[in-house]
């Protein structure tokens, strides 16, 4: 069996899921036996290559994320929504209850520690935030989800290991379903 190609991606989230991924500790070496991590915030890599499995953390919050997730979808076989933000927007989506303009102004114009120059960033090189944060499944087809904020390392390892061994994991059966 040839080694699988694995990518981990981070969109609008807190990186906690990636940290939880690292919490599989030494078991990452077991993963390494079955897969090359070809693209991840924690390894080098230039372009997003063709991969077998992509673990995507975070919600889609901007035009850039939107393009990214479409790109990823095209270049991966199995797309896994990784963590509550990717699955159901979670804390990242909490700004959805408000008008984006208000959210911006609260931080950039009215914050207590701001000096007299209050302006909302709008440089053309900045990515444009979408009005509403959406989970991955609102934009692309998702093949598997791992909820949790963050998912337990054990859960992550279980899912990865099953996929790497060409089995479909079942969180309910494995009693690993968890949100929050």
């Amino acid at each position: 069996m040839s080694k699988k190609k694995l990518a981990t991606v981070w969109l609008g989230g807190c990186s906690g899921c990636h940290m939880s991924l690292l919490d599989i500790d030494e078991r990452i070496l077991d993963v390494a036996k079955l897969a090359d991590i070809v693209k991840s915030p924690v390894v080098d890599g230039k372009e997003f290559p063709e991969v077998d499995i992509a673990l995507v953390e975070g919600s889609v919050t901007s035009d850039e994320h939107h393009r990214e997730i479409l790109h990823i979808r095209k270049h991966c076989k199995t797309l896994i929504a990784f963590g509550d933000c990717a699955v159901m927007t979670n804390v990242t989506g909490m700004r959805n209850y408000f008008d984006l303009k208000d959210v911006f102004e609260t931080s950039y114009v009215h914050a207590i520690s701001n000096d007299h120059i209050g302006l909302v960033p709008d440089h053309p090189s900045l990515l444009k935030l979408n009005d509403k944060v959406v989970p991955l499944q609102e934009v692309v087809k998702v093949d598997f989800v791992i909820p949790g904020c963050p998912p337990d390392a054990d859960t992550i390892f279980y899912v990865l290991f099953e996929f790497l061994n060409d089995r479909i994991p079942n969180l309910s059966e494995a009693k690993k379903l968890k949100y929050g």
Partner: protein, 476 residues
Amino acid sequence: MDKRKIFISPVTRIEGHANITIELDDNGNVSDALFHVNEFRGFEKFCEGRMYTEMPTITPRICGICPTSHTLASVKACEMIQGLRPTYTANLLRRLMHIGQNLSSHALSFFHLSSPDFLMGYDSDPAKRNILGMAEKFPDIAVRGIRLRKFGQELSERITGKKIHIMGIVPGGMAYPLTEENRKALLKWIPEALETVHLGINIIKKFHEENAEMVNTFATSPTLYLGTVGPGGEHELYDGKLRFMDGDGIILQDQLDPTRYLEFIAERSVNWSYLKYPYFKPYGFDRGFYRVGPLARLNVCSRMKTPQAQEEFEKFKHMSGGKPVHGTFYYHYTRLIEALSDVEDAERILKDPEVTSLNIQHHGRWNYTEGIGSSEAPRGTLFHHYKTDETGKLLKVNLLIATGQNNPSMNRSVLEVARQYVKGDDIKEGMLNRVESTIRCYDPCLSCSTHALGQMPMVIEVKDKKGNLVKRVERN
């Protein structure tokens, strides 16, 4: 005027939340560099209207790497509102958890992300230049690094049952006591952890020796520094007072209560970044940039709290004759000195007989409508500031994040590198690596700002005013 712009961005920007624009003047000289941070989630807005006691649960979600620091700053702000102090034991447990987080973050930064560069070299195969590549080539070091991080995470887990986004820290103390069994299990880690940290120190020292020129010329402009110190000026992460120091080592402010942060820190919104630019208020925006984090903490503090760390600290101080060290590259070294201190301190606390006491929480109601808390995240000082109505509903939330405070300096470092390496259309080789290394030195907290972990895939495009591509340079 033919003002041209250089736009640096990760190729596909698949992972990048940051990019850079370099502006050139008429003569093709670099006039400015804009460091764009693309992360914004609006915590300050959506926390408004909620109960302040929820903040210790919401704010760790700002960042998955330093959640405990956020919880601590948050819970301290809550305690100020309640007019409450945690119990002695609770303070011990909090310290332990905070140490755990600092340790795992530093371990991640050094062993997972930076050591491949140091041990395999910048020119090695990028595909192997990561922790997995390390595991193949230097399995012992890789596993040790992983295990050091694991120890840090386990400190949180054994105290609260969770490694990330812990939930046991409550106003007035802790929700769960430490069991004797867990205390013993944690103590077992100490010897191994000490060895690993020393191993790391040796690696970085060796690299320093072999690359002295690069290390010592690397983004070395002096800035101000901010860090938390104990009552005797000693190094402190969890609970202390602030000290501002200038580039010459003169203490500008000392034993400053964090609740007075507004007198000394202001932030400016800039249109090119979602990260605001904080500065030392008395010096104003132009002169007031300061740095935080391990380098800053070691620059400002008078001594370390533990013997082995103190020994290493003295060597560090010796390098610049007691003055602040400005070289951005020294962030790595100072990080490891802190890790050393963390392991030693953890041992001290775990041996304190009170650590397993059941006296873990003071109860109280709230007395005030304003609370400010601060703590030292791995990447620097952070502040939480809440204002509530008389029922406890949050009216205003202000969060000053560690990486935010390094932001102006990061931008300046980028500008320095750009000035050194760019002249008109002529972009010197190494520009990309330099920019990337600069940013990585600060180890910007992933979620607070960018994801500049690993090698940032980059291109530089020089465009003329009309947006036509003049030149394009890719890494390698």
